[in-house]
């Protein structure tokens, strides 16, 4: 019962006939609370689609996704959106930030959408952790790739979600920045007691995880 995420027999196909792509093919898995779980697979193995389905960004053809005891696809569209902003934090590989908003505003955006009051101390603390206190009022166009991802991490953390989903967040970064970002992410996640599910094809990153799920052709092939 301490599985914060349960995926049951999830199916998502694209196209039809000859063009049929089985992006997610009867996949089931479970993720423990408080752990860093990596989903590993090659490009085209359907891991991105899987993550998107887990995050409620797309509707599956069949199957269930249960986060924090809530079957998310039983919710209506607006309720799902509300659920996302309260319970799920996203970190994408690219284009995480809203260009017209400053760093601070990007971080507090999910809370703002939810109508929650911003606890300034907490957010300031997170900003200090990621090392971007100076850049509080900066616009994303002035930030480097690594800085942008750090802001994305801060945003994911600030909302205190139940689970953080990351889609190859270091894919566009050079190896040193990648090290930095991954270390930061792992530490913050542990410190704040979050659960992290990350997609990656990089075995180095997968090492850092507490549990690894291998995915190929839309199916889970092994776990460890």
């Amino acid at each position: 019962m301490s599985d914060i995420l349960q995926v049951k027999d999830l199916v998502k196909y694209y196209g039809a006939g000859e063009n049929l792509v089985k992006a997610v093919d009867h996949t089931s898995l479970a993720v423990e609370r408080g752990r860093f779980t990596a989903i590993v697979g090659r490009s085209g193995s359907g891991k991105s689609t899987l993550l998107h389905l887990i995050g409620g960004l797309d509707r599956p053809d069949s199957g269930k996704v249960i986060i924090d005891n809530q079957d998310i696809y039983a919710l209506g569209k607006d309720d799902l959106a509300k659920f996302r902003r309260r319970k799920i934090g996203f970190i994408f590989q690219d284009f995480n930030l809203i260009p017209s908003l400053t760093v601070w505003e990007n971080i507090v955006l999910p809370m703002g959408l939810d109508g929650r009051k911003v606890k300034e101390n907490e957010v300031a603390e997170i900003m200090a952790k990621i090392g971007l206190t100076q850049k509080k009022d900066a616009l994303p166009s002035t930030l480097s790739g690594g800085q942008k991802q750090r802001v994305a991490i801060a945003r994911a953390l600030a909302a205190s979600p139940a689970i953080i989903l990351a889609d190859e967040p270091t894919g566009n970064l050079d190896s040193r920045t990648e090290t930095e970002v991954m270390s930061l992410l792992k530490n913050c996640v542990e410190e704040y007691g979050q659960t992290l599910v990350m997609i990656t094809h990089d075995e180095t990153i997968a090492q850092m995880a507490d549990a690894v799920i291998f995915v190929e052709d839309g199916k889970v092939v092994s776990q460890s």
């Binding site: 991105s48 998107h52 995050g55 960004l57 797309d58 569209k77 607006d78 959106a81 509300k82 659920f83 996302r84 902003r85 309260r86 799920i88 996203f90 994408f92 690219d94 284009f95 995480n96 930030l97 809203i98 260009p99 017209s100 908003l101 400053t102 760093v103 601070w104 505003e105 507090v108 955006l109 999910p110 809370m111 703002g112 959408l113 939810d114 109508g115 009051k117 911003v118 300034e120 850049k135 509080k136 009022d137 900066a138 616009l139 166009s141 002035t142 945003r155």
Partner: protein, 821 residues
């Protein structure tokens, strides 16, 4: 290059929505570009055709020319054709005016008198009449028959003694008017020479100058002047046929007006089409980059954009022209039908000519013009997008964030909002994109301001009020006064006072009619003074019933009603100051009167006043009836009877007035409140209809701009919106976001329009009143127009926000988040 065209064509079909928008914009632009000049030209053409049908065709008429001079004139090299006319006499003892005149063939031709049957009179006792004339005179006859009537021959001394005449009808001419009030009969030259002493016979010389088609009216007038000066002919004798000239020769002022209007349309079109294309560019950057990477040259890319636009234009322009063609006839008829109450021969002829297709409605040159200008508009709109396409670098193809390189808005950091909500986010967007926002709001606002100003002027110009101020009472019967009318010297004021049709008998006759409440006489006298530079002005004696209005209208100076009764003081209408700025209060003017008494009186200018047209139509110098009687007491100086009736229209009275008119013909003028009202209504209907229609279309184009900006905003921010939805923005919040933006634009535009329009409206109203436009008198805030504007804009914005929200929601979230191509 064929490949490029193919690609361009396929692109056009692929990016449907944007190209449909563009297509509509081009269609509207073409439509306007076609309609405006066509209607303008057609209206003018119709008018000219009508003038040509109805008006005499001579360019100039010189009076009192003797035979010798006539011959010399005819020989002048600038004179193309010429004719002679001589007035011989008038039929006597009839209710209608029938003149007898001799005109040579050319003259008849120049006067557009066409022989229906028979031939021109040659022998002394031959005469040409019209059938209607016979009817009116109570005679019957066919060609070869003899008719008898009495007539008065005309000589230098005026009308002579009545003679009896016997004539043989040699021909019938076509009567053009439906219900003519005056007729002409034509006698032979022999008759004219026989019955008028040779040394007294005076001709009127009619001629046309030989000038080419595309000469201006001014040029023709110059030629005429040259001729008259050469022969030492006095200006007084010369009458130029202005309307006819204007109809056939180019009036230099219309062209620039049309050109300006077309320019406005073109600019509006360019702005809209350009911004529509601009939107689409950003998202196609990657596509163009890839083309470049494959190996397309800059030129090929530019051509792709251009040809895509032209492909759209190729469909839209003919569609626009087609629509315009279909609409031309309808619009023209609409314009004309607003003159519905006016049964004048002019309108009837015009309509007939259009129906018969006599007037060329469709001008090939305008088709070409509209098409070419449209294409040029499209070209100019596409220039910048073409450049943008060429500037794309190959790297942009690979970069996921394509297009950002062009938009490097190196903005410094700004203060963050502590907390965010949907409202603040939309605020950030609007302030972030200041240029776009301002341009959109301002362009919409300007259209709104213009709309409001026009609405103000038009709603102040209430035809009821205009009619009210144009005429006192419901009907007016007045004497036709004209001083230098050689044809009708009896119309001079000094003659009229001797023989005034508006006498007591007339008054009683009028009062006896059912429904007539009251008949008020307006007394008049004409005079001139040095300061008036020899111009004759009217001094009116107003009835006592108008006392209050008279006193209320005083703007400067002061005078009591009693003083105005003395005949020594007078109120001068402010308009006089425009022509004679030297008049001041307190001036004592020596007026020599033209009432036949040769008196000179001194009046003091006691005050200036501002009055409705209906009050000062008789004379700009005003005093009371009693005062005028003191000044001029010769004969009957009633200039007009203003008749007040129970209802706005009294059929019984109208019949009576018609009868009166029959009796007195041209001597009396009739005006009625109803006719003034109709006149104002139709004039305004056309102007207001035309203005509103024009601004509606222009407004449409501007609204398309707003639509485009909003679509633009959504498009460019698709990814961001997708991101926000991923983070957890609900659909309702998204709609809120879009609505807020739309509301901002609308609010900004409305504030601009209503505030600016209202503020501008008052001064413009004052200006219009000064210039007597539409006889505006009272300020009237256009509530209805303002309300319509507000509701319309709100409705559009709500609709837009809803539609945009729908289209955004339709696209799957994941497509946007993935930013795939």
């Amino acid at each position: 290059m064929k490949m490029v065209t193919t690609i361009a064509y396929k692109n056009m079909k692929h990016y449907k929505s944007r190209n449909i928008l563009t297509g509509i914009a081009i269609l509207l632009t073409t439509l306007l570009l076609y309609l405006v000049p066509t209607i303008g030209l057609d209206m003018v053409g119709a008018q000219f055709a009508m003038v040509n049908e109805v008006y005499p065709r001579w360019h100039c008429l010189i009076r009192d020319v003797d035979r010798e001079t006539a011959t010399k004139l005819a020989a002048h090299h600038d004179v193309l054709t010429s004719g002679l006319r001589s007035d011989v006499g008038y039929w006597a003892g009839l209710d209608v005016d029938v003149s007898m005149m001799y005109m040579d063939e050319n003259g008849l031709d120049l006067y557009q008198i066409k022989l229906e049957e028979g031939s021109l009179p040659r022998r002394e006792n031959e005469i040409v009449v019209s059938r209607k004339l016979l009817q009116a005179a109570g005679l019957t006859g066919e060609i070869g028959d003899t008719i008898r009537f009495s007539y008065q021959p005309l000589s230098e001394d005026g009308l002579g003694y009545v003679k009896e005449g016997e004539f043989i009808i040699s021909g019938f001419y076509q009567e053009q008017q439906e219900e003519p009030t005056a007729f002409s009969s034509f006698v032979s030259r022999e008759f004219a020479e026989k019955h008028i002493p040779a040394d007294q016979i005076k001709y009127r010389f009619l001629f046309q100058v030989g000038a080419e088609e595309n000469v201006t009216t001014d040029d023709v007038e110059d030629i005429i002047k040259g001729i008259t000066e050469q022969f030492g002919i006095d200006e007084e004798q010369v009458r130029v046929n202005d309307e006819y000239l204007a109809a056939n020769y180019v009036d230099p002022t219309t062209i620039p007006v049309i050109a300006v209007i077309m320019l406005i349309i073109v600019i509006a079109g360019i702005i809209t089409i350009y911004s529509i294309y601009y939107v689409g560019m950003a998202e196609r950057v990657r596509e163009y980059g890839r083309m470049k990477a494959i190996g397309a040259t800059n030129r090929q890319l530019r051509q792709m954009v251009l040809r895509e636009g032209f492909c759209t234009a190729l469909i839209a322009i003919p569609a626009g022209l087609l629509m315009g063609t279909l609409l031309v006839k309808a619009v023209l008829m609409l314009f004309l039908s607003s003159y519905s109450s006016d049964q004048s021969i002019m309108v009837v002829t015009t309509r007939q000519l259009i129906k018969d297709g006599q007037i060329p409605l469709y001008h090939v040159s305008i088709y070409l013009l509209a098409a070419v200008v449209s294409l040029v508009t499209v070209y100019f709109s596409l220039r910048k997008p073409m450049k943008m396409a060429a500037k794309v670098s190959e790297i942009d193809a690979m970069r996921q964030q394509g297009g950002q390189s062009g938009r490097k808005k190196n903005k410094k950091a700004r203060r963050s909002y502590g907390e965010l909500n949907v409202a603040k986010v939309s605020h950030i967007y609007l302030t972030g994109n200041k240029k776009n926002t301002v341009v959109t709001v301002v362009s919409m606002g300007i259209t709104g301001v213009l709309f409001m100003v026009i609405a103000t002027v038009l709603s102040c110009a209430n035809p009821v009020e205009s009619a009210n101020s144009d005429i006192k009472g419901q009907y007016e019967l007045s004497n036709n006064v004209s001083f230098s009318n050689k044809e009708h010297p009896e119309y001079a004021w000094d003659q009229i006072v001797q023989n005034n049709a508006l006498d007591e008998a007339m008054k009683q006759r009028l009062e006896a009619v059912d429904g007539v409440k009251k008949v008020l006489p307006v007394a008049l006298c004409y005079g001139t003074a040095d300061v008036l530079e020899g111009d004759k002005i009217g001094i009116s004696g107003l009835p006592g019933e108008w006392k209050e209005e008279l006193m209320d209208g005083i703007t400067e100076g002061s005078v009591t009603y009693e003083e105005l009764k003395t005949g020594e003081k007078v109120i001068v209408h402010r308009n006089m100051l425009r022509w004679y700025p030297d008049i001041a209060i307190g001036d004592k003017l020596e007026l020599s009167l033209f009432d036949g008494s040769e008196k000179t009186v001194t009046v003091e200018v006691a005050a200036f006043g501002d009055y409705a047209f209906g009050m000062y139509i008789f004379g700009e110098f005003m005093m009371t009836k009693e005062g005028l009687e003191k000044i001029s007491n010769i004969g009957n100086h009633t200039a007009a009877y203003t008749i007040y009736t129970d209802h706005k229209q009294e059929p019984a009275l109208e019949d009576e007035i018609a009868a009166i008119k029959q009796e007195y013909g041209e001597r009396l003028d009739v005006r009625s409140w109803q006719s003034e009202y109709e006149r104002w209504r139709s004039a305004m209907a056309v102007t207001s209809g035309a203005s509103y229609a024009f601004f509606a279309v222009l407004g449409l184009i501007c609204i398309m701009n707003m639509i485009n900006t909003m679509i633009n905003n959504v498009h460019l921010r698709k990814k961001e919106i997708g991101m926000m939805q991923a983070i957890g923005m609900t659909d309702r919040q998204l709609t809120q976001l879009l609505m807020r933006e739309g509301v901002f634009y609308i609010a900004g535009a409305l504030i601009l329009s209503i505030c600016g329009g209202s503020l501008l409206g008052y001064p413009i109203f004052l200006w219009a009143r000064e210039n007597g436009m539409f006889s505006i008198s009272r300020y009237h805030y256009p509530f209805t127009s303002a309300a319509i504007l507000i509701l319309l804009l709100l409705a559009i914005q709500i609709l837009l926000a809803w539609l945009l929200g729908r289209s955004v929601k339709k696209e799957s979230l994941i497509e946007r988040v993935r930013f795939s191509e």
